[in-house]
């Protein structure tokens, strides 16, 4: 099971994601990012072409941030919101996935970057994986 919270941040937007598995954590973070991009509004538009994404990083925290950055770039370049994540492979340093979503002609918010600041994928006291992710708006 996964959860997404939006703790306050004075200048930008932060999410706190929690999940049982790495895949769910990445899925929750993607959902949080898309919520910011769309303002929480669902758009009934054309389906975007599926995209295969492969990201390699030094550790699992960097991997989470780098994955979100890659999807954010693809969102802006392809003018699409990628709501569905199908993970083909994931470990601490690599993720390979297929992302699916819808075209859009407008984003509710402009995310300038996905920051490493305060990001730290770790297990909390309940044994769930958790991390903050800060988005520069």
């Amino acid at each position: 099971m996964k959860s997404i919270q939006f703790p306050a941040h004075v200048a930008d937007v932060m999410i706190l994601v929690e999940a049982d598995t790495p895949g769910e954590l990445f899925s929750a973070a993607l959902e949080g990012m898309n919520y910011i991009l769309t303002g929480g509004h669902k758009q009934k538009v054309n389906r975007a072409s599926d995209v295969y994404v492969e990201v390699t990083s030094g550790d699992r925290t960097s991997l989470l941030i780098d994955f979100l950055s890659e999807v954010l770039t693809l969102s802006y370049v392809n003018k699409a919101v990628y709501n569905d994540l199908h993970i083909l492979k994931i470990d601490d340093k690599c993720i390979r996935a297929r992302i699916m979503g819808s075209e859009t002609n407008r984003f509710a918010e402009e995310i300038k970057g996905v920051s490493y600041h305060m990001a730290n994928v770790k297990s909390n006291a309940s044994g769930k994986l958790t991390s903050y992710v800060l988005f520069d708006i």
């Binding site: 939006f6 770039t73 370049v77 520069d136």
Partner: protein
């Protein structure tokens, strides 16, 4: 609240002493009046500032201006000058929006001439200047054109007929950093920038029509071409998706590079490399290219403003002339006087504006006596200021001043207490026409979410960093 010891040096300057146990190589300096300190200590800005003081090669002090607020890695409103070329360069010390900046355009109109046409002008500006996110501009670059934009900046816009040659000398660094190398800008970044020239984006970016409400320094105002009651236009935007991607690419690269140079930091977002390393050089050349893109962007937006103005007023509208264009997210190689010697340093400004004082060789001749124009936008609906760089800035802050009001409230909190439609009407009742992409965007940018720009400006004025020249008040606000 973070418990950090702040010593009062004078009415406008506070210091966190150098503490080697915290990894600090220099002290931290906070420029603020006493009644601003309570807000400053509420977020993590001072902790972030203390981390900046640990960066290899940092000189004199890690500094913040009175509009400081928490960022990521570096606080917003921060200045850090490093040894050149041996100190580090940190993309987080510039920010994702490379060369986010402000320009002020002078018109020949006074308020009374504009008043009957305010609504028409606001409509034309909103139609002419693409805003929001996801929508491209009217210019679609190909790869070769992109290389020229990245290399030549605002000069490319002028050459293509999107600007005037006289504009270039009124832009910081002539609107072009010569060390730009398009080769180091990734394909991802280029794809995000091909269709975004001439667009302002969203968030706190805007085009605003203001009235000069008060003059504080008649001589400087004259030199700047400002007069009481004059209509001026303020533009605030940056390098759009291209710059954001350059920052993302190189923050990521620096994460892995640091191990090579045995650099260990408390915050990943401070990721850096020695300026004279291959990674440092690649980033600097890409940053210069992104900065050039931003200057080109603001030049094309100026062309769009000139178009809209002409459509409303025709030939009787006169000429729109650029006063100045300043960057507030950038790293520059500059000469400064430190420890009794003139030294070349790499100055990071993240949410801080260059404010060179009188006599600076970098300034156009007409500003040599006054000091550089410094443009400080307030929040939507509040005052903005034109300042002049003062001698104190060169002594105290590596020739730097504040950049705006600084946020004091999260976007989420602002949207909870402010109703966009209501705020729009309230501003309209005050004579301010707001055209925006969404009511949520208006609420997020409500004046209540920002610090008091008057106090921020008063601090830098009284500290001798940059003196007040004019206060502006908006009558039209265009936002994404």
């Amino acid at each position: 609240m973070i418990n950090i010891k702040l010593n009062k040096i004078n009415k406008y300057l506070w210091e966190i002493p150098k503490d080697p146990d915290q990894g600090m190589l220099v002290p931290c300096q906070v420029f603020a009046m006493e009644d601003m300190i309570e807000d400053i200590v509420k977020d993590r800005s001072l902790m972030q500032l203390r981390n900046v003081a640990s960066l290899p090669g940092i000189r004199k002090a890690a500094m913040v201006m009175p509009d400081v607020h928490e960022g990521y890695g570096f606080p917003i409103g921060g200045i850090a000058a490093m040894d050149y070329p041996g100190g580090v360069i940190s993309p987080g010390g510039i920010g994702y929006d490379i060369n986010c900046g402000v320009r002020l355009i002078l018109t020949e109109f006074a308020q009374a001439q504009l008043a009957p046409h305010l609504e028409a002008l606001s409509g034309e500006l909103y139609k002419e200047i693409p805003s929001g996110t996801g929508k491209g501009g009217r210019i679609q670059l190909n790869s070769q054109e992109m290389n020229k934009v990245l290399k030549y900046g605002a000069a490319w816009a002028v050459q293509q007929g999107y600007g005037e040659t006289e504009d270039l000398e009124r832009i910081e660094s002539g609107g072009m950093l010569s060390m730009a190398d398009p080769h180091y800008v990734s394909e991802h970044a280029r794809k995000r920038g091909y269709d975004q020239l001439g667009t302002i984006g969203a968030g706190n970016h805007f085009v605003e029509v203001d009235i000069v409400k008060e003059l504080y320094d008649e001589g400087a105002a004259r030199a700047f071409g400002l007069s009481a009651g004059q209509v001026v236009v303020l533009v605030h935007t940056g390098s759009r998706g291209l710059g954001h991607q350059v920052a993302t690419d190189y923050i990521r690269l620096m994460q892995t590079a640091m191990e090579k140079y045995d650099i260990r930091l408390k915050d990943r977002e401070l990721a850096c490399a020695p300026f004279n390393s291959s990674e440092g050089q690649q980033y600097f050349k890409a940053m210069c290219a992104a900065a050039n893109y931003a200057w080109c962007n603001r030049e094309i937006i100026t062309w769009e403003i000139r178009n809209a103005w002409k459509r409303v007023f025709g030939a009787s509208g006169g000429n729109l002339k650029l006063l100045y264009d300043v960057a507030h997210n950038i790293a520059k190689i500059e000469e400064h006087h430190v420890d009794g010697l003139t030294q070349t340093l790499l100055v990071h400004r993240k949410g801080a504006t260059r404010a060179f004082g009188p006599g600076s060789r970098e300034l156009p001749p007409e500003f040599c006596a006054t000091g550089q124009p410094v443009l400080i936008p307030g929040s939507m609906g509040t005052a903005s200021y034109v300042l002049a760089g003062d001698r104190g800035s060169m002594d105290l802050t590596f020739g730097s001043a504040c950049h705006g009001a600084g946020r004091r409230m999260s976007r989420h909190a602002a949207k909870k207490i402010v109703q966009g439609p209501q705020l729009k009407q309230e501003l309209r009742d005050l004579g301010i026409y707001v055209q925006a992409g969404s009511f949520a965007g208006i609420a997020e940018e409500a004046p209540i979410a920002y610090k008091d720009v008057n106090k921020v400006v008063e601090t830098v004025h009284k500290a001798g960093i940059a003196r007040k020249v004019a206060r502006l008040e908006p009558v039209v606000v265009i936002k994404g």
